[in-house]
């Protein structure tokens, strides 16, 4: 009866040693597998961080361009009417032109400068619009996958179409607002009239009040077009900010997951060590039991 009990004890110890040896192996393997997951999570976190940085940089680039555009719109609008009003005041008899001319040292030169300023404002807004369009194309073309609306399909192949035409579409703007012009001929107001200098001088001599009215109106329409396109940039900025926000949420959630996985890994490693110790402990207890049994037999 006593021997059967002792044997039972020995079997229990052997089973415990076996159990903890196996569990040590299982925990060890689990730690190895978790290590793989941690590696994958780290790769995902690094990729998310890179994406987030890209979005932030993209948003900042768009913000700079939009801020530049807003500044251009504001500056051009503030000065826009000065030249035309000055022109009216020194050319229109009904506006006391003779009296007004007396304010200038050389009224003819002043008139020349005013006309040149009217042309320069038109030229300036054209160049600035074109610059903004180019800057945006530079940004969008490098990130075309984020802006599918600027892509076009040619022979089944998707190509970047760009936004430049939205900023440099003088003829379209002119034709869409034809009713606002006195002389409904775009060629009269095409940018070509500004170059070379001889052509420009000729324009200054040949343009009459209605032409200057039209050119002023056209400049205002170009500023409006620039302003309207600013809204598109703001929308894209908002879209990129939303993507960045999503990436940031993803990043924090992945870090949280990594935290849990890392906890599991540490637990597995420590449980493996703990199992090894317990396995050794029960082995020692088994030895102790064997010695005690042999002592009992002798007695």
């Amino acid at each position: 009866m006593r021997r059967a009990l002792e044997n039972k004890k020995i079997i229990i110890y052997i089973l415990l040693v076996a159990f903890f040896t196996v569990s040590s192996y299982v925990f060890d393997q689990t730690a190895v597998r978790i290590e793989d997951s941690i590696r994958n999570k780290n790769i995902l976190i690094d990729t998310t961080k890179t994406n987030l940085k890209n979005f932030e940089s993209l948003s900042s680039q768009l913000e700079t361009i939009r801020s530049d555009l807003d500044n251009l719109v504001s500056l051009n609008l503030k000065d826009l009417h000065f030249s035309l009003k000055s022109y009216l005041l020194i050319t229109r008899y009904d506006l006391d032109s003779n009296e007004n001319r007396k304010f200038f040292k050389d009224s003819e030169d002043a008139l020349y400068q005013i006309k040149d300023r009217l042309l320069s404002t038109y030229q300036s807004i054209t160049v600035q619009s074109s610059d903004i369009g180019e800057k945006l194309d530079e940004v969008y073309s490098w990130n075309y996958e984020l802006f599918p609306k600027y892509m076009t399909e040619v022979n089944g192949e998707k190509l970047y179409e760009g936004v430049y035409n939205n900023f440099y579409n003088h003829e379209e703007i002119f034709n869409n607002n034809l009713n606002k012009f006195k002389i409904k001929n775009f060629k009269k107001y095409d940018v070509d009239i500004l170059y070379p200098q001889e052509k420009r001088n000729k324009v200054m001599q040949s343009f009459y009040l209605n032409n200057w009215y039209d050119l002023h109106r056209f400049t205002l329409l170009l500023i409006k077009n620039l302003d309207d396109n600013g809204n598109d940039i703001s929308e894209n900025e908002l879209y990129i900010d939303e993507l960045a926000e999503k990436k940031e949420i993803l990043l924090y959630s992945e870090i949280e997951k990594l935290k849990n996985i890392s906890n599991k890994k540490n637990s597995s490693i420590l449980l493996s060590i703990f199992s090894q110790i317990l396995s050794l402990l029960f082995l020692l207890m088994l030895f102790r039991n064997l010695i005690l049994n042999s002592t009992a037999k002798i007695k």
Binding site: K78, R217, K224, K259, N266, L280, L281, M285, F287
Partner: protein, 299 residues
């Protein structure tokens, strides 16, 4: 093979002469194993704590990085706003000076000068709506920020912050009531004919510091709003700097805590290893001895 070795062990323990000595050694081994398991449990909890602190550190580092980039963004915004305001102030001064002359008063009207300033300022406020949506737990943005500094800052500074926020919100609410579309239409639907009417009109609509017109009142509201915006952003910048300093303090504290816990853990792991090694060696002594007896019997 295992069974074979186990029977050898049984024989060996039966043959041991000084069984008490053997039992003592085994007991020491058991004691060491138990000690090692205790160390493993302690290590498990310390490692868990370290892991949590490590992730808190990562979060704190992320926040510090975010705050740092927001601070530099704020610095650029403040610099930009101050530059714009300074340049606008100079332009306004020049425009006022010009408007004091007979010709100048006809060239520059309130509509020409103020409408673009009001329009562009109102356009920018759309972004601020997003800022005010950023409230936490039912509190609006300002309340959340004030709560953040309430316990850490002097009462005077907290009161000053509250006042700055109140002034900003008040001026923001005032300009929000201004109809942006009214000014947009005023700017872009302005025709040369209307300009002619304006110039020919006997009514004085030139720039005047004492003007009672609606547009001057709106411009004054916008001017006040712009000044308050700079003060508001400067205060937010100050708060962010304080938050960043707090982040750095937390990072330092967490680093020290991790180092301390790491040291503790290292010591315990070392002890665990030593005890495991001793326990293992004790088992090995018995195994080797049992093998030797088996060999002697064979000979």
């Amino acid at each position: 093979m295992r069974l074979f070795r186990f029977s050898l062990l049984k024989i060996y323990f039966g043959l041991i002469e000084n069984k008490n000595k053997a039992l003592k050694i085994i007991n020491i081994g058991i004691f060491l194993s138990i000690f090692a398991s205790t160390s493993a449990i302690i290590t498990y909890f310390i490692e868990k704590k370290i892991n949590e602190k490590e992730f808190l550190l990562i979060e704190e580092q992320f926040q510090a990085k975010d705050n740092s980039s927001i601070i530099s963004e704020f610095e650029s915004i403040i610099l930009l706003l101050e530059t714009y305001n300074r340049s606008e102030f100079m332009q306004t001064e020049n425009a006022f000076f010009l408007s004091w002359t007979t010709l100048g008063s006809k060239i520059i009207s309130e509509n020409d000068f103020y409408a673009p300033i009001i329009y562009t300022a109102l356009k920018d406020t759309k972004e601020l709506d997003k800022l005010f949506e950023l409230g936490i737990e039912g509190q609006n943005f300002s309340e959340s920020i004030v709560k953040l500094i309430e316990d850490a800052w002097d009462k005077d500074e907290v009161d000053k912050t509250k006042e700055i926020f109140k002034n900003f919100e008040k001026s923001y609410e005032t300009i929000k009531k201004i109809d942006i579309n009214f000014y947009k239409s005023k700017i872009y639907n302005n025709s040369p004919e209307l300009l002619f009417d304006e110039v020919s009109s006997k009514k004085n609509n030139s720039l005047d510091y004492n003007s009672n017109s609606k547009i001057f009142s709106d411009y004054s509201a916008v001017y006040e709003y712009k000044q308050n915006t700079i003060i508001f952003f400067k205060r937010l910048h100050m708060i962010l700097r304080a938050t960043l300093a707090q982040n750095h303090d937390s990072i330092k504290k967490l680093n020290n805590e991790i180092i301390d816990l790491s040291k503790k853990e290292n010591r315990l792991i070392f002890l665990t290893f030593i005890f495991q090694l001793i326990a293992f060696m004790l088992i090995q002594i018995f195994e080797i001895s049992s093998m030797n007896i088996y060999k002697k019997e064979k000979l």
